[in-house]
């Protein structure tokens, strides 16, 4: 005798489900699909949130851009020295970076220029310079997404950049560039500043912007104000501003997911409402007969619990498993674009695997107990009546 699970009761529950197999297969399919959609949305959200979190953390405290009448211009490199003289500034680096549109693939790459002997403003770039193979200024180091696109376009060893005068600049591919986040490094090509300047036709006196490190995080706002005072023609962006900006984009995209989420929940509750609103006459009669032959209310409810649990737990496990495969195995086609896409202009990147237990628990509680309750409540109503009355 198994004190915890009544195997005969479980067998009866399975038989009971099989007796209405088409109906139950349909319900299981719908439940699985809804759980799959919900889980996929949450998994994508978790992954991208995780990526954004890392990306934001790796940003410099202050970025200084030159603006004239609201338009972004290259900034003078010698401003770095004046910024370094501001109290509280730990380091300042003139960055040369920009986007490069690769016509053949219809995507934008992000080009980042560095100098080998300069202290890098990001750990990922410093790691590239410090790596065993080192950073060869004549080469390009490409992110995984860029590598895939170049491979498809037959650029395995080198890439031809089109210069402003229309001529080509051939640069060898020296290796792959990796950072803490896929989102950050995927579309990146790291080059020497010299190569960058020739690609953008930029003189040595200019950079794209200047990034500033501040020793004390509490002084960031003060230092930013001092820079703004020193150079009124600049826009001074703090890490906090960028966090807010990223969060706004993320929240906007979340709205689309929220709509999907609401539709999924709505569909689920329609099923639940339908189940909870009553039993068929044959289901009522069956409960009456079971009570008449000696089953108690508890026995009936236990049997119904098994029925509900078998369907909902199976649908939950299958839905979550399919969502894991869809998001992390296949890269969540269609759904991912809602969040990560600037349509085809951005290189494809892989969603990093983040096992978000909270999400899985949330989906579990949104599906399994509610479905089980929708099975148990109408059965309880019937089973608590006199068997004689139920069978009439």
């Amino acid at each position: 005798m198994n004190k915890y699970i009544n195997l005969y009761l479980l067998e009866y529950s399975i038989n009971s489900l099989l007796r209405q197999k088409y109906k139950n297969i349909f319900i299981t399919t719908i439940l699985t699909f809804l759980i799959f959609i919900l889980s996929s949305m949450f998994f994508i959200t978790s992954s991208i949130k995780n990526e954004l979190q890392f990306s934001v953390e790796s940003l410099p405290e202050i970025t200084v851009q030159k603006l004239i009448s609201g338009k972004h211009y290259d900034i003078e490199v010698d401003r770095v020295n004046e910024i370094l003289s501001i109290t509280g500034v730990n380091d300042a680096t003139a960055r040369v970076w920009g986007y490069y549109y690769f016509v053949n693939a219809g995507v934008n790459f992000t080009l980042v220029g560095i100098e080998q002997f300069e202290k890098q403003y990001k750990d990922s770039l410093q790691n590239l310079v410090d790596s065993s193979k080192g950073f060869d200024e004549s080469n390009a180091y490409i992110g995984q997404g860029v590598k895939e696109i170049m491979r498809k376009n037959y650029f395995k060893e080198y890439f031809n950049f089109i210069l402003p005068d229309g001529s080509l600049k051939k640069i060898n591919i020296g290796g792959t560039f990796k950072s803490d986040t896929n989102l950050e490094s995927n579309d990146v090509i790291v080059l020497s500043k010299e190569n960058m300047r020739s690609i953008y036709g930029m003189s040595e006196e200019y950079a794209t912007d200047i990034v500033v490190k501040v020793a004390n995080p509490d002084e960031v706002a003060t230092v930013a104000a001092k820079i703004k005072l020193l150079y009124p023609d600049t826009r001074v962006i703090t890490k906090n501003d960028l966090k807010v900006s990223y969060q706004n984009i993320f929240d906007y995209k979340s709205g689309v997911f929220l709509a999907l989420f609401i539709v999924s929940l709505f569909t689920f509750f329609i099923i639940v409402f339908d189940k909870a609103s009553g039993l068929s006459s044959s289901e009522r009669k069956e409960i009456g007969v079971l009570k008449a032959i000696g089953w108690s209310l508890d026995d009936v409810l236990k049997e119904k619990f098994y029925e509900g649990a078998l369907i909902s737990v199976f649908a939950y496990l299958l839905g979550v498993f399919l969502a894991l495969g869809f998001v992390y195995g296949f890269g969540a086609p269609l759904l991912r674009d809602i969040f990560s896409g600037y349509s085809e202009l951005k290189t494809a990147f892989e969603l990093p695997f983040v096992l978000d237990v909270q999400t899985m628990v949330l989906v579990f509680f949104l599906s399994v107990p509610i479905y089980i309750a929708s099975i148990i409540i109408p059965s309880w109503r019937v089973a608590s009546m006199d068997a004689d009355e139920v069978m009439r």
Partner: protein, 222 residues
């Protein structure tokens, strides 16, 4: 053993309409006896069976079985009482048609959560006793009416209850199968089971094995 004291039972039909199914009924049934409740449809026979099996409660009066008043048992104890004391053979058998004979017969054993060996042995004994062991794994819907009735009797018998009640047991059977059923009643009587049959089948009206006839009309004993 079974005693009805001043039993009244009425059913509500709609908000303001009440129908009296039993009126001031007093019955005594001895242990091991076979009792036949006679009467036309709607005379109150089935209501008496419901009260004996505690699947409904009287509006007033007392039902006493083995010196215990069962008419006021809570749902939980009423279920326990049925499980251990009552076997019911319904008019239309009320079997689960899409599962096997064995799975139907073990239904009253399920709440007891017994060891599988014991369950197997009880099932084999019951099926053997009613001559349907060879149908153990057959699906009920593939059996004839008579065979289905035997499954229903095996299900009623499996917990070895003291009281077996049958509501119009031969209503769906031909004469030969009805006579077979009477043979089964004889066997149950030999085992000292109390059998209460509600019927208007004339086959039961002059049987040696019947200890008591109770004739009913419009909810009263006549």
């Amino acid at each position: 053993m079974i005693e009805f004291k001043n039993i009244n039972k009425s059913y509500k039909l709609g908000k303001n309409n009440t129908v009296a199914a039993l009126k001031d009924i007093n019955i005594n049934i001895k242990e091991g006896s076979v009792v036949v409740l006679k009467g036309s449809s709607g005379s109150g026979k089935s209501s008496i069976l419901s009260l004996v099996s505690a699947i409904s409660k009287p509006t007033s009066g007392e039902v006493i079985v083995d010196n215990k008043q069962i008419s006021k048992l809570s749902d939980r104890f009423a279920s326990e009482y049925r499980l251990n004391n009552i076997g019911i053979v319904f008019q239309k058998y009320n079997l689960v048609e899409d599962i096997s004979v064995e799975q139907n017969v073990i239904l009253p054993l399920i709440p007891k959560n017994l060891d599988s060996d014991l369950v197997e042995s009880k099932v084999d004994t019951a099926l053997d006793m009613f001559g349907i062991k060879h149908y153990k794994n057959s699906t009920v819907k593939n059996l004839s009416g008579g065979e289905q009735q035997r499954v229903a009797i095996a299900r009623a018998y499996i917990n070895e209850p003291k009281i077996i009640i049958a509501d119009e047991p031969t209503a769906n059977l031909d004469e030969k199968l009805s006579l077979d059923f009477i043979e089964i009643i004889k066997d149950l009587k030999k085992q000292n089971k109390t059998v209460i049959i509600a019927t208007h089948d004339p086959l039961f009206f002059n049987l040696d094995i019947v200890d008591k006839y109770i004739e009913m009309k419009n909810g009263s004993i006549i």
